[in-house]
Subunit: 592 residues, 2 copies
C-alpha cells in the first residue's frame, strides 16, 4: 500500500535545501540506495539536484523498516532534520548536508528501468527514445530543457521590452507550397479540401504589419515535410519576428542586442557588438560558404591571376571559361595530410562536384606538386609566394567554374580544419551574412527560384537587372551564422504590390497561380503597408548550440527520428476507417 | 514615386509624443485629412494612438504640396516641431499637442478601403473578415490583441516565478480520439498512417511529470474538429499547466494567485482570495449548472418535501419516481413576466427537455397558480411561505427527474435573470466547482463516459463504488468559472497504472485498445510517478471576458468562421493531386 502526501508539504527542492538545524521536507526520485545495515543512505533527486537522506539507529523503527523497501527510481517524500554531513561530497551543491529522516512516504514504486538513469549513458538512443520519459530523467536532458526554457524566456523579455507584441497566427492555414512540402490536414466540413500546417507564419506576420501592429513576435511552431537529415525535425520552433519602419541596419542592430543579452544572461559570455558582417559574395569567395565558421582562418585564396598563363590546361581552361583557380593553405599540415590523406580529399572533392584536386605538399625539402610537370620555371615559386606558403604546408587547389571551386574549397576548408585540429571546440563566432542573391538557378527544374522567399525585397540598385541578369540581383536578405551554423534568416519585404506580382511572375508563377495562392496578400498591399522586415531565429538550433548538445533530439522534449516517427507513442499510426470517411479521404497503399 | 525612410528614424509612437518645443519623428497610417486650403491637418495613427500633423503657411512649399496628396490610410513618416495645440481635443491622449511638419515622407499609398476603419463599424462581419488585415487596423481589435498579449505575458511571468518551466510538446502526435474528433495529418513516409493534431498536450504533460520536470507550463495550441458553435474555434490556445507533489487545495491556491495578479495587473481590479468553492452537487442543486453565474441570486429551491403529499400527480409522481419538484422565484417580476411571457418560457423549457412548467404569478391581489385546482387548502400558502414569495413575484416550477429539473431550472434562471434585468453587466465572479462526477451516462451510446478525461483520479472515498454505483464516483476534478463561463478545467491524475487500466476498462476500452492507444502511458507509470495534477486555462475565453468582447473572433488575430474556414485566404482549399499522391491518399467526394 502506497503512502499519501497528507500532512506534508515540500519546503525545499533537493538541490536547494538550506538551514542547518531546521526541519525540511523534500520530494523526488531515488537516485541510489546504500544499505549499510543499521545505517542507510538514499540519494534523492529532483530537477534541481540531489540530497542525501539518512536513516540510522536514532530513526524510528517503523520509518527505518519502510526505508528498507526503497529501490532506485521510487518516488518519495521525506521530512527530517537538515544537518552537516560527516563525509562531504564536493561534487554536488548539497554535498555538505544530509537529512536525518523522521517522516518518510513512499508515494510510488518503480519497476526496474530498462536502462540506468545516469548522465553518461551508454544505452543506445533507440531504446532511450522508446522510453523517452525515463531518458528525460537524466540530468543532461533536464538541464537542456531548462536552458531552452531560459532562452525562450530571455527572447520574450528582450523583444517585449522593445515593444514587440506576441500575436498567435493560425496553425491550420492555406496550402501554398513554395519551398518545402506542406503537411496537410483534410477538412471534414469542406469535402476534398485541405488545410496546411505552416512552414512559417510568414504571410500572417506580414499582414500584421499591414494591420499596423508595428512589432510582432511569436515563438511559432513550423512544419516541413522534408526528408529528414540528422539535424532536422518535421516540426520545429522559430523565434519569429517582424517589424515596421525599420531598414536592414536597424533590424540587425536590434537582433544583436538580443544576442548580446542572451549570451550574457544564459551563458555569462560577453559578446562584442556590432557583430561582424560579410556580404554573401565576400563570404563565398573567402570561405566558400554562406555560413562560414570563422573560428579559424585558412581562407580561400584566388590564384587565377598567378596561373592564368600556365600551360597546365586544367587551370587555364577553367579561367578561360570564366571560372577560377583557387586554393586553401593548410599550415603545418604536411605531416597529417599524407599522400594517402590527400587522395581521400580528392575523392571527397569529386563526390561534391569537383573534377579533381591539385595540391602542393611541402613536407620534405622540396615541395611536392601534383602538377609540377606542367609548370615553367618560377611558376611554382610564384604560387607559393602568392599564397604565403612555407615548408610544412599543404596547398589544395580547385580549378573550375566559381559555382564549383568555392563550395568545394569551402567544404575542404571545414574538413581539413577539423582533421588538422585548428577548429576550436569553444568560442561563439557570430556573423551576419548580407546581400544574398534574390534568385538561385535550379538545374533540376531549369528555372530561377527565390533563394530566400518570394516576398524578399531586392536591393534598389539591383532592380534594373530583374529582366536582364537575374543572377546579379541581390536582396535585402540576411542570415545570422554562429560557428558555421545558420541560426537565423530574414529580410526586408516587398511592400509594393506591383513589384510583388512582378517577382511572382519572374519566379514562374502564372497569373492564375498568383491569384489563387497569393491574391489576398497582393490585395492587402494595395491598402498601404509600412516598410517592414523581419527574421526567424531557430530556437531548436540555438538551444542545441548553447547547450553544447550534439543533436536537436537533445533539446526537444519528444523528438521524432529520421523517418518522422516518434518511437515512444509509435506515431504516426493507423486510424479508424470511420475517421477517414468523415474526412472524405481514402488511403492508397502500394501493393508491395 | 514613393519616398523612402532614408535619414529618418522614428523617435516616438503617435500616442506617446512628448517634449513640447522639440523635434519629433512619427510614423503611421492616415486616419483623417482635413484640408482647409492654406491649413491642413492630418491625423496619424499607430497602435498607441493618434497625433495631429499640421501644415500651414510656414510649411515649405514642397512639403505642403506633398501633403496635399495624402489620403486616408496612406502610410507616412513625418518629422517636425512638437507644439501646443490651439483647439485641444481631450478625447485623446495627445490631444493637446500637434506636430508642425518639416519633413514628410509618403511611404505607401492606399486604395479606397472597402469599409471605413473606424471603431464603431457598422460593416457586416463577413466583409470585415475577408479584409481581416484592414479590420485589424481598428483600435478595438488592436486593443484586444494587445490585452491578449498582456494576459499571456502575465501568465508566463507568474508561473515562471513559481518555478514552472515552459516545455514544448509535439503538435503531430498519435491519434487517440476520446472526446472530440481529431484533426489528422497523413504521413508521407509511412503509407496509410496518420498523425493527429493535439486536442490538448494532456498525455505529454503527464509524461513530463513522470520525467521529473516537476512544474510545467505551455501556452499550447489545441485542435478539435467539432461542429462549431458561436463560441468555438477549431484551434484554440490553452494556458496548460501540470505540477507534481501537490494536491487539489494547493493547485487551486496557486491558480488563484494567478487570477489575483492577472486581474490586478491587466484590469486593475482587486479580487479577494481564496475564491469561493462549490461542489458539483451543490452547484447543480443551487444553480442547475456546473458553471453558474453567481453575479445574481434566484437560486433553485427544493419543494419536494412541501408538495410530496399533493394530489397534483405531476408533482407526486415525479417525487415517487425518485425525482424532485423544484422552483425559482423571480422577485418583482410579475409585471414583466406576463402570462404570454410565461407561455414562452414553457415552450423554452419543453425545448430543453421538460415536460412542462408550472407557475405561480402573484400580480394582482391573489396569486394566480397554474395548478391551483389540484391543491388542497393551505397547500398554496405553504409553498409560497416556503419559497419566501411575496406579492409581485413569479414562481417557476419543474417536476421531473433531477437530471431534468435542475438543468431546466438552471437555464430558466439565466434566461429570466436577463429578462428581468438582474444579471449585472459588470463584476467578476470567479468560482471553483469541485468534486465532479467521474462518470457521466451517455444515453446515445448507452455507456458511461469520463466527464473530465480518463486520466482523472477518483476521490479515494469513492473507489469502492467503481463497480457497484458509477454515478456516485466523484473525481478530483475542478473547474474555474467566471460569470457563468468555464475558464479552466483540471484534475489530479491517476498515477497507479493498475487503477488506470481499470478505469479504461470501466470506460469500455478493450485490452487491445488500451494497449494500442495508451500502452506507452500505462507503462510509463510503472516506473514510478510523483502525485500530480494540473489544469488548462482557456486563453481565448479569458481574453474575451477580460476584453469585454462579444466573440472569440474579436480576440483571435485570424479567426475561422462557423464552417471552420478562413474567409481571407479562403482556406481550406483544393490542393495539387501530386501532393495527395505523395501522401498516399485520395479524396472521396460525394456526388451531389
Amino acid at each position: 500500500m502506497l503512502d499519501t502526501m497528507k500532512g506534508l508539504k515540500r519546503t525545499h527542492y533537493c538541490g536547494e535545501v538550506e538551514g542547518i538545524g531546521s526541519t525540511v521536507t523534500v520530494a523526488g526520485f531515488v537516485q541510489r540506495v546504500r544499505d549499510k545495515g543499521s545505517l542507510m543512505f538514499v540519494d534523492l533527486r529532483d530537477r534541481t539536484g540531489i540530497v542525501q537522506l539518512v536513516f540510522d539507529d536514532t530513526t524510528e523503527p517503523a520509518v527505518f523498516e519502510k526505508a528498507k523497501q526503497i529501490k532506485s527510481e521510487y518516488v518519495l517524500m521525506a521530512q527530517g532534520l537538515l544537518r552537516e554531513r560527516e563525509s562531504k561530497n564536493n561534487d554536488i551543491k548539497t554535498g555538505n548536508v544530509e537529512i536525518l529522516v523522521t517522516d518518510l512516504r513512499i508515494l510510488s514504486m518503480a519497476q526496474t528501468t530498462p536502462f540506468e538513469i545516469v548522465n553518461d549513458t551508454k544505452t543506445n538512443e533507440e531504446l532511450r527514445l522508446k522510453y523517452r520519459y525515463l531518458d528525460l530523467r537524466r540530468k543532461k536532458l533536464q538541464d537542456n530543457l531548462i536552458m531552452r526554457h531560459r532562452i525562450a524566456k530571455t527572447a520574450r523579455e528582450y523583444f517585449y521590452d522593445n515593444g514587440f507584441l506576441e500575436i498567435e497566427t493560425p496553425m491550420m492555414m492555406k496550402s501554398t507550397p513554395e519551398g518545402a512540402r506542406d503537411y496537410l490536414v483534410p477538412s471534414r466540413v469542406h469535402e476534398g479540401k485541405f488545410y496546411a500546417l505552416p512552414q512559417s507564419p510568414q504571410i500572417y506576420k506580414q499582414l500584421l504589419m499591414i494591420s499596423g501592429f508595428d512589432r510582432y513576435i511569436q515563438l511559432a511552431r513550423c512544419f516541413r515535410d522534408e526528408d529528414l537529415r540528422a539535424d532536422r525535425q518535421p516540426e520545429f520552433t522559430q523565434i519569429d519576428l517582424e517589424m515596421s519602419f525599420m531598414d536592414v541596419d536597424e533590424i540587425l542592430e536590434l537582433t544583436e542586442g538580443f544576442i548580446k543579452k542572451l549570451m550574457k544572461d544564459v551563458l555569462d559570455v560577453d559578446i562584442t557588438t556590432p557583430l561582424p558582417r560579410l556580404t554573401y559574395n565576400d563570404a563565398m569567395s573567402r570561405y566558400g560558404s554562406d555560413k562560414p565558421d570563422t573560428r579559424f582562418g585558412m581562407e580561400i585564396q584566388d590564384l587565377s591571376d598567378i596561373v592564368k598563363d600556365t600551360e597546365f590546361s586544367v587551370f587555364s581552361s577553367a579561367i578561360a571559361a570564366g571560372g577560377s583557380v583557387r586554393a586553401i593553405v593548410a599550415k603545418n599540415a604536411a605531416g597529417v595530410l599524407t599522400r594517402k590523406e590527400i587522395d581521400k580529399l580528392t575523392e571527397f572533392s569529386k563526390g561534391i562536384g569537383a573534377k579533381g584536386l591539385a595540391y602542393i605538399r611541402w613536407h620534405d625539402d622540396a615541395p611536392n606538386c601534383s602538377f609540377a610537370k606542367f609548370l615553367k620555371e618560377g611558376e611554382l615559386d610564384a604560387i607559393l609566394s602568392h599564397l604565403g606558403c612555407e615548408k610544412g604546408d599543404v596547398v589544395l587547389i580547385v580549378a573550375d567554374k566559381n559555382k564549383v571551386t568555392l563550395p568545394v574549397l569551402g567544404a575542404l576548408r571545414l574538413k581539413v580544419g577539423k582533421q588538422i585540429g585548428i577548429v576550436p571546440d569553444s568560442g561563439y563566432n557570430f556573423l551576419w551574412i548580407t546581400e544574398f542573391p534574390f534568385f538561385e538557378w535550379d538545374d533540376e527544374s531549369e528555372s530561377w527560384l527565390a533563394m530566400h522567399h518570394p516576398f524578399t525585397m531586392p536591393m534598389e540598385e539591383c532592380l534594373e537587372y530583374l529582366d536582364t541578369d537575374k543572377g546579379k540581383v541581390r536582396a535585402k536578405a540576411y542570415d545570422l551564422v554562429l560557428n558555421g551554423i545558420e541560426l537565423c534568416s530574414g529580410s526586408i519585404r516587398i511592400t509594393d504590390p506591383e513589384l510583388q506580382e512582378r517577382m511572382f511572375r519572374l519566379l514562374g508563377l502564372t497569373d492564375k497561380e498568383i491569384e489563387e495562392k497569393f491574391g489576398f496578400l497582393v490585395d492587402a498591399y494595395k491598402y498601404a503597408a509600412p516598410p517592414h522586415g523581419g527574421l526567424g531565429i531557430g530556437l531548436d538550433r540555438l538551444s542545441m548550440l548553447l547547450c553544447g548538445a550534439d543533436s536537436l533530439r537533445d533539446v526537444v522534449a519528444f523528438p521524432k527520428v529520421k523517418d518522422a516517427s516518434e518511437l515512444m507513442s509509435q506515431c504516426p499510426s493507423a486510424v479508424d476507417d470511420k475517421q477517414l470517411e468523415e474526412l472524405h479521404i481514402r488511403t492508397v497503399v502500394s501493393e508491395e
